[in-house]
Amino acid sequence: MDYGRSSRPVPTAIKILVAGGFGAGKTTLVGAVSEIRPLQTEESLTAAGIGTDDLTGVERKSTTTVAMDFGRITIGQDVVLYLFGTPGQDRFWFLWDELALGALGAVVLADTRRLADCFPSIDYFERRNTPFVVAVNCFDDASSYTEAEVREALDLDGHVPLLLCDARDRESSKAVLIGLVEHVLSLSTARAR
């Protein structure tokens, strides 16, 4: 009998980030498509051995933890998607670096009532060359803008997809993820040429 291996093949893990301002619907979107109830994991700043620069403002706290929500989507036997809601506060950006490392891409959730909240996320992914799409979460009480208006306000590069979504809705959130992977695929085809 072979005890050496698990009976299940080890799937390839793909990481997708869900970013956006506080309250933009990150956890909602993760929850809408995840096959498991969104799990939470904590990174303890002290245990992570972070450089002191990153602790500016929290240096007097000896045990600060920051929670990340994540969900999982199993695609067949070979691939598992992990969706990570990025911690919202600016001072935890160092966590993004680690999360963004090796990530397939990112969804930036935008709330048109507070559009500026998602500027830092867009800056971040542009700077890192991480493929991303912007998903405008259509809140009920938000006044509707045209896609062109939002695109202009965000100063998005022409090739970055802008999608409208309802983060509470599974189909709508699925469409956002499909949009992201298609965007990554088109970038990869373009690169191959």
Binding site: S44, V79, Y82
Partner: protein, 190 residues
Amino acid sequence: MTTPPGRHAAGHPDRGDPREAGAAEEWVEQQWAEQQRADAYRAEQYVVLRGEQPWPERPRGDLAAEPWVDHTWVDRDAGPVVRPYAMTGGRVHPASGSFDVVAMVVTNRAAMSDLGYGLQPEHRAILAYAREPLAVAELASHLDLALGVVRVLLGDLLGQGLIEMYHPPAAGELPSESILKAVINGLRAL
């Protein structure tokens, strides 16, 4: 008196019924007496070594009569019994390996027959959870431990050959087109 046979079948011929003749109470009494003897001995040793009364007499029984015990935070609210730094022996970096949040951990069952010394309950919990492939982040979530702590523990297990790691595609390396297409189709089919 006859007892109907149940899940905790009474009257086992070899042991006798533990519920009979107050066996449990007797055992508790024994443990209690032993504990008190041990306490008394320690106190005695303390006085011998330090020459002073080690601690005030603690009234037994009534929890409410213990004003120095804060009862507002109990169980999980009180935080972990073992602090993270104690769990890792003060280490902040794993002894071996690097562990992305989505790196897959699988217990190496072949090595399980030869479990190393110095494994903590948390190490063993990881080995139990990772019998099927599991991502680092999921492990951390199941164990309710910070990622940094889990990484240190994983480093120990990796060093002893008790787990295998499967790393996600390296940074800057996009998955193949066939995988991307499979993901798109898989998402559509959800």
